[in-house]
Amino acid sequence: MYVTEIFINGLIQGSLYALIAIGFTMIYGILRLINFAHGDVIMIGAFINIGLLKMSVPWPIAIACVLVLGAFIGFVIDKVAFYPMRDAPQVTGFIASLALSLLIQNLGILLFTAQPKNFSLPDFFRENIIVGGVKVTFLSIIIIFSSIILLALLLLFVHKTKMGVAMRATAENMRVARLMGIKVNTVIMVAFMIGSALAAYAGMLWGGRYGQVDPLMGFLPGLKAFVAAVIGGVGSIAGAAIGGYLLGFSEILFVGLLPGRMSGYRDAFVFGLLILILLFMPNGILGKSEEQRA
């Protein structure tokens, strides 16, 4: 029973990291840009959902709205912050993303104050279902399955659609992708939209799981998801998912297995493990070395 519980919690935590890590990895894969503002989309997604539920929008529609608005935010972020500096050196984009992150966070504080807000999903999300002798909330089931469905859809998209293949081609060689007639700016825009939609959705789930949200809530999950993307092999979508689940599982496992007084050092143990992985696989689990890419 205890094992099942750990397994389910690991799945939940991993799903959230995986959803967020996808956005990092897609953007890095194409632009070699570490987009620090990505974590803040989590927060935006959570606050959008609060607004929607206040307007008593039914929850399936609210989920759809969060995905669509999340995509729209990705579109705006690309157009406002990154598109104008497409030809600038990578470090410029990185600094822009830091600035954007601060801007979004402070705008959030200005609008909603820094006080954590209650995030209450409709009651039946909290109802328990018994799985393998363990009580699991309906929300947990939703987190686990919707994440798997979204990840599967995304993999189908990048392997089976024209735009998806164009995206992989652009990630591998942007110059040659243009020779195929691919509008790389459109591809980049789509990558931002997909990544942000998933992050906003993860934000909504995150809020639901922890019950409260605040304007700075995106920072830590964003950072950890970035680490998950690196572990999985940055640039690889399947890698980001694997990294996310690995990170989620190891967090839960360390809390579950360490003696109580050590569990405060959870992150130290988790990151120690990740450093070990990177020592043996410097490009991450599914990553390719830059030489191989060329």
């Binding site: 024209k162 293949v165 164009a166 992989r168 081609a169 591998e172 060689n173 110059r175 040659v176 243009r178 020779l179 195929m180 007639g181 691919i182 509008k183 390719k288 191989q292 890419r293």
Partner: protein
């Protein structure tokens, strides 16, 4: 002479502070194979990339006319994907296939801009007929192919946009002599099937063999031009590019 497809007129290109192309003029007519030969750093690749709108043209113009019934268009300052959509395709230096994509995906992506599916299927059959090995290896990752096979794949990919004018940048580079022979006979076949070709080569002997006309590029200027045979028999060309003492 037949209809003019590509007309490069007095083009100047600088990249950064380096003035690379200086008052370059040349043309390609329908049904021709035109070769640009020259040493390393003469500006051959830059010329092709300028046609594809990779580089900003400071002076001069590049015009293109797909067919006699089509209007002439100025392609000097239009984006790369527009150049491709008008019917010019570049097979880049060093092949540059998408290594992480399958062979089939690489071929398909060449037809990215095309809407007419039955035409795309026709062309797919055509490139499979030209390069049967690619059909056999369609599920393999392109990165796992040999250099020669990757070259074939790069040509096949470039053909999938059904170009009127195919630009090739050093197709023989780094290939075993046997493959060089095969690639050049493929090019002759492609040319026979109706595609005009602008070929950049360091292997001047091979290039002049198949070229109707050729231009010699020297440090960013057109130094000489003439028919393939004329240049082949020119003593300066022989000394500088054909290794005849």
């Amino acid at each position: 002479m037949s209809q003019l497809i590509l007309d490069v007129a007095h083009v100047d290109v600088s990249i950064g502070k380096t003035h690379i192309l200086k008052n370059i003029s040349f043309s390609v007519h329908k049904g021709e194979v035109v070769a640009l030969i020259g040493a390393n750093g003469a500006g051959k690749t830059t010329t092709l990339e300028t046609i594809m709108s990779y580089n900003k043209v400071q002076k001069g113009s590049i015009t293109y006319q797909k067919d006699e019934s089509d209007t002439k268009i100025d392609i000097t300052h239009i984006p790369t994907e527009k150049v491709v959509s008008h019917g010019i395709s570049l097979c880049p230096e060093g092949r540059q296939v998408f290594a992480s994509l399958s062979v089939a995906e690489n071929i398909r992506i060449g037809s990215y801009l095309r809407r007419n599916r039955s035409e795309v299927e026709e062309d797919l059959e055509y490139v499979h007929h030209l390069f049967p090995i690619l059909h056999e290896r369609q599920h393999q990752k392109a990165g796992s192919l040999s250099g020669g096979e990757q070259m074939m794949l790069a040509v096949a990919r470039a053909l999938m946009s059904r170009p009127t004018l195919l630009l090739l940048d050093e197709p023989s580079l780094g290939l075993a002599p046997l493959f060089v022979e095969r690639i050049f006979s493929m090019l002759e076949q492609i040319h026979k099937d109706g595609t005009s070709i602008l070929l950049v080569e360091q292997n001047a002997a091979k290039a002049l063999d198949i070229a109707d006309r050729a231009y010699v590029l020297e440090i960013g200027r057109i130094a000489m031009s003439g028919s393939g045979t004329q240049l082949k028999n020119n003593s300066e060309v022989q000394k500088a590019y054909l290794g005849v003492v």
